[in-house]
Subunit: 193 residues, 2 copies
């Protein structure tokens, strides 16, 4: 359906609720109530509940993809590229934790082709990590590991932020990112003595 301001308000309210309670446990009436309207009124703006989920997940996926590509564009060594990729991923999460955590945790409630499409985009996204890790291994920057295992290790750690990050929390988003970049780069980097 149309990409109106109201539509975006619906998706934002839905993101927050899906993050808190999960997609299935959130009713259409819950989303409407957050916007001070009645359940059926939502259908003037959306075609179905799953459409709202899809819009959020699709937008989050695009944001992750775009931001990662920008971060990887610079022509640096593997450690710096990894640092940039990790920081980019975290910035997407902290900029909109609702959207990000729906992408991370609720995509599996999509059905059919949409589910399949997101699965493929998730895999392609993860491949950026795998390939970068393999590059760093090949040139001796990174320790010997299984690139697929190391990539899921990192992505699980990063995506965890979507679950616990609160803008009003103890640490600012940048400080969290700094710590995570250090942890991620050290996790991969060979210790030369």
């Amino acid at each position: 359906m149309l990409d109106t301001p109201r539509r975006r308000e619906i998706e934002d309210a839905a993101s927050a609720l899906f993050r808190e309670r999960g997609y299935v446990a959130t009713s259409v009436r819950d989303i409407a109530h957050a916007l001070d309207i009645r359940g059926p009124s939502l259908y003037a703006h959306v075609t179905s509940k799953e459409d709202v989920l899809w819009a959020i997940v699709d937008r989050a996926a695009s944001r992750f993809e775009r931001t990662a590509d920008r971060a990887l564009a610079a022509d640096a060594d593997p450690a710096d590229r990894l640092a940039a990729l990790v920081a980019a991923h975290i910035s997407v999460i902290t900029a909109d934790p609702g959207e990000a955590s729906v992408f991370v945790a609720e995509w599996r409630h999509l059905s059919g082709d949409r589910r399949q499409a997101i699965l493929e985009r998730r895999d392609a996204y993860e491949r950026r990590f795998r390939d970068l890790i393999a590059d760093g291994m090949a040139d001796g920057t990174f320790a010997l590991t299984d690139p697929a295992v190391a990539a899921t290790f990192l992505l699980s750690a990063l995506n965890g932020i979507a679950g616990w990050y609160r803008p009003e929390g103890r640490l600012a988003a940048d400080r969290i990112a700094d710590h995570f970049v250090d942890l991620a780069v050290r996790a991969l980097t060979e210790v030369h003595r």
Copy 2:
């Protein structure tokens, strides 16, 4: 309710379904169907759907706690203790990925006191990681970091395994654990040149 073999079969079937589809998206009839009985027959063995969730989550929590305590009992240096703790955590996940992933992902659907109790046990469990990291920082084994941040980094990475691990997968549980231990210890360890 009673701790009968049938009760355990119900919890195992429920774990697998909760892991696949989530607690809310799994109906009592779904669980019954997996055991080739009708929905209402389940209530001869359980008092409520949430009771089944609680039994699984409580058992998983106990297993994580017991296994971690055993792993930390040895009197070794922080790096070895961390390696033991990480390996222990992973062994609980790979021994029963259904139970573990329900603990990781579905506990929030518990209500009231049970939810509160699990929140506290999760925090106490995480504290084992935080304290160990702080110990290692104090004696110079570990790099300077925020122990709380580093602990969630590690636990998110480890818990991610519950989502993707399959016994018939490419890598045996032990090999996954070996890679994860290396990644985790390197992530924390100061690089001395």
